[in-house]
Amino acid sequence: MPDVTEQLRRYGEAVGEVANAGSGGPDELGKQTGTGRWRWPAAAAAVLLLGIAAALAVSWSADPGDSGVEVDTAGETGGSLFGSPTDAVLVFSDGYDGVLTLDVDAGVAARRILEGERAGDQPFRLTVVDNELVVGWGEIHAVPLDGSDPHLVTEATIYVPAAEPGEIWAFDYSGGRIGDGDLTVRRVDLNGNVTFSTEDFDTNQGWPLLGVPGGLAVATDSGIAVWDAATGSIGETFGSERPAAAASDGTRLAWCEQGCSTVRTVELGQSGPATPQHRATDQAPRFSPDGQQLAFAVEEANGTAVKVRNLDTGTDTVIADALSGSVALEWDPRGQQLFFTETQPDDGTITEVGRYDVDARTTATASVSLQGALTTGSFVVLSKDDAGVLLSDELSPSEACSPPTVFPSLREGVCAFPLESRRQATTPNSSPSTTVLSQEVSGDWRTLPSTLGSGTELSPFAVPLDEDRVLLLRLENGGNDVAGEIIDLAAEASQPIAPSPLLWRAFPMVAWTGEEVIVAGGSNGPGIDVAGAAYNPSTDSWRQIAEPPGFMPGRSENQAVGPGVWTGATVISWQSGLAYNPDSDSWSEIEPFPLAPRMDEAVTAFFGGVFVWGGCNVDLVPNCDDSREAALDDGAIYDPSTDEWTALPPSPLSGGAGTVAVDATAEGKIIVAVPHPSDPNDATVAAFDTTTMQWELLPDLPNEAGKRASAMVWTGNDVIIWGGYGETYERETDAGFQLDLDSDSWRPLSDGGRARHGHTAIWTPHGLLVAGGSPTSTPVLFTPGDP
C-alpha cells in the first residue's frame, strides 16, 4: 500500500474529479446565494475570552445556587427512607409463602406468611379488596387487614380483580391448570357468594386483563376490548397490538403499547368504581385514585423512566428516569404520592425505592438491597394503620428470625429487619415531556410584498416600527451591500430604505434602540471597510458610527461580532466583550464572559441585562456542526449597570446546539428551548426567572419541531417556535408550534408557511412575521384566527 501522502494524492484526485463533474457551467459564476456565515471571528473572540476567563478563575466561580438537589451520601440503618413522613407501607408478594412489607418511614422491612399465598405463575398475586388482601391460586384466600382470621374465598384456578366492590373474578378450569379442561367464570364476593357465572367465556377471543364495570378488559391479538358480562360479547377492539396489562379507574381503560412508549386510554361504555389496587405479574399504568393522573413506566434509551400524565391536559411529567431492571409503581390510597421500585430481574433484589410527592412536585429515591423471592417487585400501597397486621407489634426477637432471604417465614409473629438504605437525592420535578394537543392554532398565512427579492438570506434583522410597519434588513444580501425595506403589513406594501454605506457581512452586531438600528462589525471574508452604521427610519437615513476597538479596515478579525443586544443604553456584544453607546457614539469594553467560549448559544435581553445560555464549545469543536460532546448547558447573565456577569444555577435542560431564547419578562421569565438536545432524554424547554434565579421546566418541544436554525418568538402570552431543519437536515420544515403556558401544552400552527431554515421571526400586532432564511427568504405573515 502506498504511503499516506500518496494515498491522499490519489484519493484527492479521484474525489476532485467527482466533485468537479458535479459542478455547473459558467452560468454559476453569477449565482449569488450568499448563504455564508463567517464564524472565525466569533470563534477567535470566544477563544480570547476563554483565556481571560482562565486568568480570572481564581476570583470568579460559578455559584451553584439552589438546584433543589439534596444528596445524602451516608448510608443509614433504619429511619425514614425519604427524609419526610409518608404514612405509607409498601406490600410485596414474596412469590412464595407470604408478603414482604416495607415501612418506608421507619426504614424497616418485615416478612410474614399469608394463608393461601403460594408459589406459581398466576397473573395476580395480591389484590386489596375491601380492606382484605386476596391471594392464591387453586384456592383463593382473603386475609383481613384488621387481623381477623384468613378465610377461603373460593376454589378456582386463578382470580382477576373485579371493579364491583368486594368482589373478584374467579377463573376455574376443570383440570386445575390454566387451559386444562372446561372453564367456568364466576364473580364472587369475599365470602364466596357467586354473583355471576358463565361457562361461555372464550379465552381464545380475549384473555382477561382485569375487571372493569360490568365485565372484563380482555387482550386480543390486535388490541384491547371489553367483554360485557351481561351480553357475553366482546366489543370494539382498541389499540394496535396485544397489550400485556391494563388499568381502570372505573370510567376509562389505560394500557401500554411498545414498552409504554405509547400509553392509550379509552372511555368505558359503562362506568363504575375503579378496579382496586392489585399486584400483577405484568407492569401496567396506574390511575391515581382521583382519576386525574396516570402513572406509567416507559422504556427509553438510558433505562426506564417513570412518568405521570395529567389526564386533563395530556401533559407528561418525568418523575424518575434511568432506572434499570423491572420497574413497578403504585399510588398511595390518598393519591398524594406515587411510589416506584426498581427490581433486578435476575435475583429479584429490589435496589431502589422512590416516592413522588404530588403537591411538592419532588421525587425522592433511596438505594436499598431488599432480597427475597420477589418475582417482579410489584406491590400495593397501604396506609400504616391498614398495614398494622403486617407489621404488627408482635415483633419477634431478631435472633428468632431468619434473614428475609430464607424461606419459609415464621408462621407466628413478624420478623422485622432494620433496612440499610442510602438516601440518594431529592430532585425537583423533572421535565414534563411533550404534549401536543390536536387542536391547531388556526390562522391565515400570506406572502408579503418585498423589494429585496427571495434569495437566501440567513438571519436577517427585523423589527416592528409601529402597529403596521416592519423594518427588514438583509445583511449578507447575496454578496451585495446591506439593504433594507419597510413593509406595511396593513397596506401590504413595501418600500426600500435609503442605500446603506455598508458592505455585506455575516454575523454583525445588530440591535434596535427604539430610534435606530445599529449595524456594526461582522465579517465578510474579503474584509470590511466601513465598520458600522446606524439607520434611522424616521429620517430614512444612515449615519456612520465610530469604529470598534481594534478595527482594521479590510480585515475581518478584531471586530465586533454578533449577536447584539440592546440593554437600554448600549448595544452589547457578549462575544466580543464590547458595548456601543449610540448617544456618545463610543465603544467600551465590558467584563469578559466567564464561561466557555461558544456559538449557537441562546441570547436575549431582559430588564436591561443580557442572558446567555447553552450553545456549543468552540474550543472543542470549532464549527459546532453536529457535535454533541461540545454541547453546553451552562450560562450567565450580564448586568450592564455593574459590568458584572453572574453564573446561572445548573439548568435542568440538555445542552445542545441551536439553542434559542426569548424574553418573556411579562411573565417574569426567559424561555429557553434546545431544539437539538445532546441527550434526547433530557428536557428541552424551560423558563428561567431572572429575579429568583430559578429554572422551571416546561413541556418538551414536539418531535416535529425544527431541530436546528429554527426561530422562536414571544407573543406576549405564548411562545411560538417555527421552521428550521428537520431531524436529518435533509429538508427544512414548515412546522410551527405554540406553547400555551396556561395549559403547559403545545399546539400546532396551521399549515401554509413556506419551509425554511435560518430565518428570523418576530411578533407583530398583525401576527407572526417570518422573513429570510433558505431556500426562500420571502417574508410571510401568519395571522391567528379565533382561538
Binding site: P2, L8, A19, S23, E28, A506, G525, E557
Partner: protein, 153 residues
C-alpha cells in the same frame, strides 16, 4: 479592467475552478464543493481588479468561498476509496480523515490531496506557513498511526 472585459478571467476560472472544487471537498464535502467554488469565483468576477493582483488568489478565494457558503450542518461525508475505484487506498483513510480536527484536515487535504503550496494554504487558513507545517505534520502522524503504515512502507 473588469472581469467581463478581461479575456484573462476565463483562463483564470478554467485554472482555478477545479483546484477550488477539489479543495472545498475537505470542508464542504463532494456535494457542497462546487457551490463553494462558484461563490468564490462569483466574488472574483465582481472584484477582478483586486483578485488579479493577488499573489495567492486560490487561498484567498478559498476563504471567500468558505465564508459565503453555509457551514455544514451534517457530519461531513466523503466517498469511500472503493466508490471512486481506488484499490490502492486504505479503506480506513476516509474515516481517519474525518476524525481529524478540522484545521488539520483542511491543511493536510490542501497540501497532499490538492497539491497546494504552504503559502496558499496559509492564505486559505489565515495563518502562517509554519503553522500549516505543524497542522500537516500532526495530521500525517495521526493518519499513519490510524492506518498503521510507515513512510518507508
Amino acid at each position: 479592467m473588469e472581469a467581463k472585459e478581461d479575456p484573462g478571467f476565463g483562463d483564470f476560472v478554467a485554472e482555478v475552478r477545479p483546484r477550488l472544487v477539489r479543495a472545498f471537498v475537505s470542508c464542504r464535502g463532494v456535494d457542497g464543493a462546487a457551490d463553494a467554488a462558484a461563490e468564490a469565483l462569483a466574488y472574483a468576477y465582481e472584484n477582478w481588479e483586486r483578485v488579479r493582483e493577488m499573489e495567492n488568489p486560490g487561498g484567498y478565494l478559498y476563504r471567500v468561498g468558505q465564508s459565503r457558503t453555509r457551514p455544514r450542518r451534517r457530519p461531513l461525508a466523503l466517498p469511500s476509496p472503493s466508490e471512486v475505484e481506488l484499490p490502492d487506498v486504505e479503506p480506513g483513510l476516509v474515516p481517519a480523515l474525518l476524525d481529524l480536527p478540522e484545521t488539520q484536515r483542511i491543511a493536510v487535504w490542501l497540501v497532499h490531496a490538492c497539491g497546494w503550496r504552504y503559502a496558499e494554504v496559509a492564505e486559505a487558513l489565515d495563518t502562517s506557513e509554519s503553522m500549516v507545517g505543524n497542522h500537516v505534520s500532526r495530521a500525517l502522524d495521526t493518519l499513519r498511526r490510524r492506518l498503521e503504515v510507515r513512510s518507508d512502507a
